[in-house]
C-alpha cells in the first residue's frame, strides 16, 4: 500500500495475529518511513528549544522526549521524538509530515538567523522497532555483553554493537508494550530484519505491518497525526498539555497556548467502547441528546478487548466517562460507552 511516498505492507500474516504477537511475544516493524532529521552547528539546542513545545535544553545524553511542533496559533504541525544523542540532536517525525517539518525548520533557521545544518537521514538509516514482552531478552542476546538493555530506562537510549555496527538503540515504541527502536545503517537493514526474525523465531516473533501498528497504538491511546492531531488541534485539545513546558523558555506557539491554558480547551479526546454491534471509524459523528458533539478520529476492532473501540474528538464536557453516547455508523445510531484512555495498559 502506498503511504506517504513509501510502499508499506498493511499486513504480513494478518492484523490480529500480528497484534497478538506484539502483546504476547515480539513484533518486528520496519518504520524506516519515519522522517529522521539530524542537526549540527552552533546553537542547535537553543534552536530546537525555541521550536518544540517540550523542553530540549535539559535533555541528558541518550535521553528522548515526546514533543509537539506548533504554529504560532498553537495548531499542531507534527508530533515528534527529540533525541539527544552523544554526538548530536535528532528528530524523528511523521513520514507524511517530513517535508513540511523540514521546510518549517529551514524557515526558522533562515528567518531567525541561525546557521543550523539540518539533514534528512532516511537514505542512510533504517528504523526498526522490536516490541513486546520478549523484546529485551531477544535483543540482549543479539548485542551480547557490551550493553545492558534491561538497564536502559524508558525513553532512554544506548549505543551498542549490533551485527557488526555500533548502533543507537532506544527504549521507545508506539504499541503500548515494552520494546526498543533501532537505527540501523540502511545498507545492512535487510540483513538486520532477517536476522532479528531468525533469532526471534524461538520467542514467537512476527513481522508486523501498518494495520496492527494502528490497532496497537489505538489500544494504547496513542494519537496519530492526521487523525487525533492536525493543525486545527492544539496540544490542550488533544490532552497533550504535559508535553508543553512553559516555564523559563520561549517556543513557537507559547503565547497562544498560554491563553488557551487560561481559558481551557474547547475540545477533548475521549475513548469509546461500542455497546451495539459495528465499528465506529474515522469521521463517524458522536451524538448526545440529539446534538452532534464531535467526531470519531480513529476506530477499530480491539483484538485485546475483543470489542470495537474508538477515539473521538468532542466538545469539552459533553461526553463524560461512564455515560452512554451514540455514534452514527452509516444510517444508524449505535450506543457506545465513554471510557478513560488508554484502552490497554501492559501488565507491569
Amino acid at each position: 500500500m502506498p503511504f506517504a511516498g513509501w510502499e508499506m505492507p498493511v499486513q504480513y500474516a494478518g492484523v490480529i495475529a500480528e497484534h497478538v504477537a506484539v502483546r504476547s511475544a515480539i513484533g518486528l516493524f520496519d518504520i524506516s518511513h519515519m522522517g529522521i532529521l539530524d542537526f549540527a552547528g552552533d546553537g542547535v539546542r537553543e534552536f530546537l528549544d525555541g521550536i518544540l513545545t517540550n523542553k530540549v535544553s535539559d535533555l541528558a545524553e541518550n535521553q528522548i522526549r515526546y514533543s509537539l511542533i506548533c504554529r504560532p496559533d498553537g495548531g499542531i504541525l507534527d508530533d515528534v521524538l527529540i533525541y539527544r544523542l552523544p554526538t548530536h540532536y535528532r528528530l524523528v517525525v511523521n513520514a507524511s509530515n517530513t517535508d513540511k517539518i523540514v521546510d518549517w525548520l529551514e524557515h526558522q533557521n533562515t528567518s531567525q538567523h541561525w546557521s543550523i545544518d539540518i539533514s534528512v537521514q532516511n537514505s542512510a538509516l533504517a528504523l526498526l522497532a522490536v516490541q513486546g514482552p520478549e523484546a529485551t531478552a531477544l535483543l540482549q542476546n543479539m548485542v551480547g555483553d557490551a550493553a545492558d538493555l534491561a538497564a536502559v530506562r524508558y525513553y532512554r537510549g544506548t549505543q551498542a554493537p549490533f551485527l557488526g555496527n555500533t548502533i543507537t538503540i532506544t527504549r521507545t515504541g508506539y504499541t503500548g508494550e515494552d520494546g526498543f527502536e533501532l537505527f540501523v545503517p540502511a545498507d545492512d537493514a535487510a540483513e538486520a530484519w532477517a536476522t532479528i526474525l531468525d533469532q526471534g523465531a524461538p520467542h514467537g516473533i512476527a513481522p508486523v505491518g501498518l494495520g496492527a501498528r494502528d490497532t496497537l497504538r489505538l489500544e494504547a491511546g496513542l494519537p496519530l497525526y492526521g487523525h487525533e492531531l492536525d493543525d486545527a488541534t492544539s496540544p490542550f485539545d488533544a490532552g497533550l498539555q504535559k508535553f508543553v513546558r512553559f516555564k523559563n523558555r520561549h517556543f513557537i506557539g507559547k503565547e497562544a497556548l498560554l491563553e488557551e491554558r487560561q481559558l481551557g480547551p474547547d475540545r477533548e479526546l475521549i475513548g469509546l467502547e461500542l455497546i451495539d454491534r459495528g465499528i465506529a471509524r474515522d469521521g463517524c459523528l458522536i451524538v448526545v441528546a440529539g446534538e452532534d458533539v464531535g467526531v470519531v478520529t480513529s476506530g477499530t476492532f480491539s483484538p485485546t478487548l475483543q470489542k470495537a473501540i474508538a477515539i473521538a474528538n468532542v466538545e469539552t464536557g459533553t461526553a463524560l466517562a461512564g455515560t452512554t453516547v451514540h455514534v452514527r455508523i452509516r444510517a444508524d445510531l449505535r450506543a457506545a460507552r465513554v471510557v478513560a484512555l488508554p484502552f490497554y495498559q501492559r501488565p507491569r
Partner: protein, 131 residues
C-alpha cells in the same frame, strides 16, 4: 486462490449458488483475503427485498468496511446467524460455513445469465492486477 467452478460471481466479489429455488450468497476467497480479519458482518432482517446489485449488508474487517451487493434481485429469506458470533467463518470458509444470505430470486431467468462464471471472475481479478 480458490474460485470454485460450480459457483457464479459478481465483479464486486460476491458468489452465488442455487439450492433448489433459493440462491445462497457470500463473498469470495479473494474478497476475504483482501479484507483481512473479519470482525463483524451486518446482515438484513429476513423478509427484506433487495435489487440486483443492491446493497444487502456490510462486512467489517479490522482494516476496513465493505458493502455487500446482491448478485440477484429477490427476497432475503434467511441470513447466516452463525456469523454474529463467529464472523471469522467468512475468512476460514468463504464458500461454505461463511455464507451470508439465502434469497428467493424474483427475476432469476433474466438475472442469472448476467453473472460471471469462474473463468469470467478469474479474468476480472487478472484485469484488476490481483493474482
Amino acid at each position: 486462490m480458490n474460485i470454485p467452478d460450480e459457483l457464479c460471481y459478481t465483479k464486486e466479489h460476491e458468489w452465488a449458488r442455487m439450492e433448489d429455488d433459493l440462491c445462497v450468497i457470500g463473498i469470495t476467497d479473494f474478497a476475504q483475503g483482501e479484507l483481512g480479519d473479519i470482525v463483524y458482518v451486518e446482515l438484513p432482517q429476513p423478509g427484506t427485498h433487495v435489487d440486483m446489485m443492491g446493497e444487502f449488508g456490510v462486512v467489517e474487517s479490522v482494516k476496513t468496511a465493505s458493502d455487500l451487493f446482491s448478485p440477484l434481485a429477490g427476497e432475503i429469506v434467511e441470513v447466516n446467524d452463525e456469523l454474529t458470533d463467529n464472523p471469522e467463518l467468512v475468512n476460514d470458509s468463504p464458500y461454505e460455513e461463511g455464507w451470508m444470505i439465502k434469497l428467493r430470486p424474483s427475476n432469476l431467468d433474466e438475472d442469472w445469465p448476467t453473472l460471471l462464471d469462474a473463468a469470467g471472475y478469474e479474468a476480472v481479478l487478472a484485469e484488476s492486477g490481483a493474482h
